[in-house]
C-alpha cells in the first residue's frame, strides 16, 4: 500500500483528533470517580429486553455511565460512534452487578448506546446526543511534534540515500565490480528505511526498485536490481552506465519529493506497519535480493525504519496505551537479537545460508512484532475514526 493513498485519505485528519475516548474500570455502584459529568453518572438499567439510559444527552467531556444489570443473563454496554466504531464498552456485567463506563467525547454529535444481553447480536440500541465541545487530551497535542520529527528523519534518510547511491553509481560507471558490490547494500539501506514513503511516487518506484518479473509490461528492467543482476550474475553490460545514471537521477527526484510529503500520525504508523509487511512478503522470502542474497541487510533496514517511525510516535502511544509501547520495545528487541546473530562485520550472512528452522524462527519473531505494530494506527488515530454521526 502506498503512503500516497493513505495520505490522501487522511488529508487534514491530523488536526482533527477531536474525539478521544477511553474506557475505565469501575467496581460496584457507589465508586463513581470524581471526574464524572456535572450531573453525575448516567444510570443505565439493563435487563434481558430493555436498555434504560436515564438521559439521552450530555455535554462534551468525560461522560460516565453506571450500568446496572437487573436481568438474568450476562450483559455488555456499548457507546458507538459512526459505523459502529466503539467509543467505549464494558463487558461481562453479570446479573445483579453494576459497572461504570467512562468515555471522553470532545466534539458534539449523535452516538448510539446499546445493551447486549447474552453478548450476541446488535444489542438494544438508542441514540445519544453530545452537545458542545471540550478540550482534547494532551496526546493530541503531541501528534504535531511527532509529525515534525518524522519529517526530519525522512529528510536525513533522503540525504543519505542520494549520497550512498552517488558512490555506488560512480563505482558501477568506473567498472569496479568489487567496489560496486560493496557499496550496493549501503546505498539501499536508507531506501529500505523509508520505503513506504520512497515507493509512493507512482512511476519512480518500478524504475528504481522494480524486480525483473514484476516490471510492468513494456517497461525496461532498470534500477538497483538490474545493476544487482549485472554485478552478481551477468557482468556489467554496455548500458550499465546509462542505467546507473538514470538510477541516480530518479533517486534524487524521490529524495526531493520525500521531503515534501505531508505526514499524519496515521500515515507514519501505517508506514511502520508496511515496512514489516515488506519484510514478510519480499525479504524473508528472498525475493527482493535474489542475485546478491543481501536480504537480511534489507530486513535490518526495514526494521530500523519501522522502529524509527514508531519512536517519533512514542509520546502519543505511551500516553494512550502505555503497555503497547513496552510490548513494541520487547518485540523489536526480540527480532533484532535474532537478526544480529547473522551479522558478520558490517554485513549480514546471505539469506541462502540460513536453515529452514532459522527462517522459521525469524518468521515467528516477525509475526509477534507485526501483531503489535498493527495496533498502532488505531491508537494514534483514536479521534479521526470516530467522527460522530450527525
Amino acid at each position: 500500500m502506498s503512503l500516497a493513498r493513505t495520505t490522501t485519505a487522511l488529508t487534514g485528519a491530523a488536526g482533527l483528533l477531536a474525539l478521544a475516548a477511553c474506557t475505565s474500570s469501575g467496581g460496584t455502584s457507589g465508586t463513581a470517580s470524581s471526574s464524572a459529568t456535572a450531573g453525575g453518572p448516567i444510570a443505565v438499567q439493563a435487563t434481558d429486553s430493555q436498555c434504560g439510559v436515564a438521559t439521552a444527552t450530555a455535554p462534551a467531556g468525560t461522560i460516565t455511565f453506571q450500568v446496572q444489570n437487573t436481568g438474568s443473563t450476562v450483559t455488555e454496554f456499548y457507546v458507538y460512534g459512526a459505523g459502529d466504531r466503539i467509543v467505549g464498552e464494558v463487558e461481562n456485567i453479570t446479573p445483579g452487578l453494576s459497572r461504570e463506563l467512562k468515555v471522553e467525547i470532545t466534539e458534539p454529535g449523535t452516538f448510539t448506546t446499546a445493551c447486549k444481553p447474552g453478548m450476541v447480536g446488535d444489542g438494544i440500541r438508542a441514540a445519544f446526543t453530545v452537545t458542545g465541545t471540550a478540550q482534547p487530551g494532551s496526546a493530541d497535542q503531541k501528534v504535531g511534534k511527532a509529525i515534525a520529527d518524522y519529517q526530519a528523519y525522512v529528510a536525513e534518510q533522503s540525504t543519505e540515500l542520494v549520497a550512498g547511491t552517488e558512490a555506488f553509481v560512480a563505482a558501477v560507471k568506473a567498472g569496479d565490480v568489487a567496489k560496486a558490490k560493496s557499496l550496493y547494500t549501503p546505498a539501499r539501506q536508507p531506501w529500505e528505511r523509508i520505503e513506504p514513503v520512497a515507493e509512493s511516487f507512482g512511476d519512480l518506484d518500478p524504475k528504481i526498485d522494480g524486480r525483473e518479473d514484476v516490471v510492468e509490461e513494456g517497461l525496461p528492467f532498470t534500477g538497483y536490481h538490474r545493476l544487482e543482476k549485472d554485478l552478481w550474475v551477468d557482468g556489467l553490460k554496455p548500458d550499465s552506465s546509462a542505467i546507473a545514471d538514470q538510477l541516480l537521477a530518479d533517486v534524487k527526484t524521490v529524495a526531493e519529493k520525500a521531503t515534501a510529503v505531508d505526514f499524519t500520525a496515521l500515515s507514519i504508523a501505517n508506514g511502520a506497519k508496511e515496512l514489516l509487511d515488506e519484510v514478510a512478503t519480499t525479504k524473508i522470502t528472498g525475493e527482493e535480493e535474489r542475485y546478491s542474497h543481501t536480504d537480511l541487510a534489507d530486513m535490518k533496514a526495514n526494521l530500523q525504519g519501522s522502529q524509527s517511525a514508531l519512536e517519533v510516535l512514542r509520546p502519543v502511544i505511551s500516553e494512550r496505551q502505555a503497555d503497547l509501547a513496552s510490548a513494541l520495545d520487547q518485540a523489536f528487541t526480540t527480532i533484532s537479537q535474532a537478526l544480529d546473530a547473522f551479522q558478520k562485520g558490517t554485513d549480514y550472512a546471505p539469506l541462502t545460508d540460513l536453515t529452514p528452522d532459522q527462517v522459521k524462527d525469524l518468521t515467528v519473531r516477525l509475526d509477534a512484532l507485526s501483531e503489535q505494530v498493527a495496533q498502532v494506527p488505531a491508537v494514534v488515530e483514536a479521534g479521526a475514526g470516530g467522527t460522530p454521526t450527525s
Binding site: 443473563t73 463487558e91 453479570t94 487530551g137 509477534a368 507485526s370 501483531e371 494506527p377 488505531a378 479521526a384
Partner: protein, 437 residues
C-alpha cells in the same frame, strides 16, 4: 456433561479490557488483566445441550455449550461434526507471557463458545483505522456447539517454565509401536487446542483467533482438520462411520456412563499426589494421525472387510450376532469351526474383555488432506482418545493392535502426540491456572 457452576453474584474483578483509545486507559487496566470474573450468557440462560430438549434438530446444532465447569468441555460433550486441532510450540521462555496468553485465550474462547466475537466489537468496532480484533469469518453464525479444549504436552514440563516438578507421572512420551511411520512435523507439541463445532467455519475461526492472540508466545507446529466425527460420545447419538465405511466407536464410553467416565477418563486426585495435583479432574489426550490406504481397502471384498473389522458392514453387529449393540461373543464358532470373530480382527483386539477390562473414550474425526502425490487421497482417521492414564489404557491397547491387527495392512500411524488436558475452568479462573499457581 458437566454441570454449570451457579452464577457468582460478585465476581472478583471485571472491567472493560478495551484500553485502545483512552489516555487514562492504561492505568485503569493495569489491575484488570485477570478479570475473568463472572460467566457468560450460556451459563445463565441455557442448560447443557445434553440435558436440554431442543425444539428442533437445528436448534441443537446451533446451541452454545457452557465453557466453564468441573471438567473442560469437548471431552464428554456429544461429539460435534467438525474439528480443527492444532499443536503449538511455545516460542518464548518467559513464563509470565505464557500465563498471560492462557488468560487471553480463556476470555476469547469463552466468548466464542457463546457465539460472540473474540473481543467486544471485534469485527468492526475498532473503527476504520483499527485492526479488527476478531477475524470475522464466524460473524453472524451461531455458536454451533463450539467447544475449545486445551492440553499441555510433555515438552512443556522441561526446564523453560519451572514446571518440571509438576509433570504428572502419566504424562510420558508415547513409546514407539510396531509399524509406526511418524513424521516429526505431525507429532508432538508443547500445547494443543481442540476446537469442535457443528459448523467447520466456527471451529476454524476459533483456532485462528487463538493462534493470532499467541503470536510471539506460541507458533503452530501442526494442524489437522476433521470433517466428520467417527465416534459417538453420548447414547443420544447414532454411531457414525469411518472412511472404511464401518460404524466406528460402537463400544465407546458414553457420557451417560458416569461410572465408566470416572473410572477411565477423569484423573482422580489420588492419581496425582503432590505437585501434580493440578491435574485432578483433567484427562490425557492421545492424538494419532492414521493414514488409511482407502484405495487398497476399497478393492477388498466384503467378507474380508468384515472379517478384518469383526463387525458386519451394514448394521455394525459383531460377527455372529444380529444387532450393533449386541455383546460380541469371542468364543462363538462359525460353520467352518473357526471363531466367528477372527483372532486378529480389530474388535477382538481392541475389546475391553481382551485388555483386562480397559476402555478409552474415543473422539476422532475423518480427514482427507489433499493427495499423496502418486494419485491417492491422503485420507484417514485422526484418532483422538481421552484417558485417565495413557500408560495403562492407550499403550497396552495400541501394542495389542500394532502386533496383531489385520487392519494394519490398510493403515499406518504417521502422527502422534500426547497432552495433559487440565480440569475445567472455574469461575474467575483461567485455563491451567492451577498448574501455574
Amino acid at each position: 456433561m458437566t454441570e454449570p457452576q451457579s452464577p457468582d453474584p460478585q465476581p472478583a474483578t471485571g472491567v472493560s479490557r478495551r484500553g485502545l483509545l483512552g489516555a487514562s486507559a492504561g492505568a485503569a487496566l493495569a489491575g484488570a488483566a485477570v478479570g475473568f470474573g463472572g460467566g457468560y450468557a450460556t451459563r445463565a440462560s441455557a442448560a447443557p445441550v445434553s440435558e436440554a430438549a431442543p425444539a428442533t434438530a437445528q436448534a441443537s446444532l446451533d446451541a452454545s455449550i457452557p465453557f466453564r465447569g468441573e471438567h473442560q468441555a469437548g471431552i464428554v460433550t456429544p461429539a460435534q461434526d467438525r474439528m480443527h486441532f492444532v499443536a503449538l510450540d511455545v516460542v518464548t521462555k518467559d513464563r509470565a507471557r505464557l500465563v498471560d496468553l492462557l488468560k487471553k485465550w480463556t476470555r476469547a474462547a469463552e466468548r466464542m463458545t457463546a457465539g460472540a466475537e473474540a473481543a467486544p466489537g471485534g469485527v468492526v468496532g475498532g473503527g476504520p483505522y483499527g485492526v479488527p480484533q476478531d477475524t470475522g469469518e464466524a460473524y453472524g453464525l451461531s455458536a454451533s456447539g463450539l467447544t475449545v479444549t486445551i492440553g499441555f504436552g510433555p515438552s512443556l514440563f522441561d526446564d523453560r517454565f519451572g514446571l518440571a516438578d509438576r509433570r504428572p507421572a502419566a504424562l510420558q512420551e508415547l513409546p514407539p509401536f510396531r509399524g509406526d511411520d511418524l513424521d516429526p512435523a505431525r507429532s508432538g507439541g508443547d500445547l494443543c487446542i481442540q476446537a469442535c463445532a457443528n459448523d467447520p467455519q466456527v471451529a476454524v475461526h476459533a483456532v485462528r483467533n487463538l493462534v493470532r492472540l499467541g503470536f510471539g508466545v506460541v507458533s503452530v507446529r501442526w494442524s489437522q482438520l476433521g470433517f466428520g466425527r467417527t465416534s459417538s460420545t453420548s447414547t443420544s447419538q447414532a454411531t457414525p462411520r469411518n472412511l472404511f465405511g464401518f460404524k466406528d466407536g460402537t463400544r465407546n464410553i458414553k457420557a451417560e456412563e458416569t461410572q465408566a467416565v470416572d473410572e477411565f477418563v477423569w484423573v482422580a486426585p489420588s492419581d496425582v499426589p503432590g505437585a501434580a495435583s493440578w491435574m485432578a479432574g483433567g484427562t490425557y489426550l492421545v492424538a494419532r494421525r492414521i493414514r488409511m490406504h482407502i484405495e487398497v481397502w476399497d478393492r477388498t471384498n466384503l467378507r474380508e472387510q468384515e472379517a478384518t473389522i469383526g463387525r458386519t458392514k451394514a448394521v455394525g453387529a459383531p460377527l455372529g450376532k444380529e444387532q450393533e449393540f449386541d455383546e460380541p461373543d469371542f468364543a462363538k464358532q462359525g460353520a467352518d469351526s473357526q471363531p466367528a470373530i477372527p483372532v486378529d480382527a480389530h474388535v477382538r483386539l481392541a475389546h475391553a474383555d481382551n485388555l483386562n477390562g480397559v476402555r478409552i473414550l474415543r473422539r476422532g474425526y475423518n480427514f482427507t488432506d489433499g493427495s499423496d502425490g502418486v494419485g491417492h487421497l491422503d485420507a484417514g482417521l485422526f484418532f483422538l482418545a481421552f484417558v485417565r492414564d495413557p500408560g495403562k489404557q492407550f499403550v497396552p491397547m495400541q501394542r495389542a493392535l500394532a502386533e496383531k491387527d489385520v487392519l494394519n495392512e490398510y493403515i499406518e500411524h504417521n502422527g502422534s502426540a500426547l497432552f495433559a488436558c487440565p480440569p475445567g475452568v472455574r469461575e474467575g479462573g483461567y485455563w491451567g491456572d492451577a498448574l501455574f499457581a
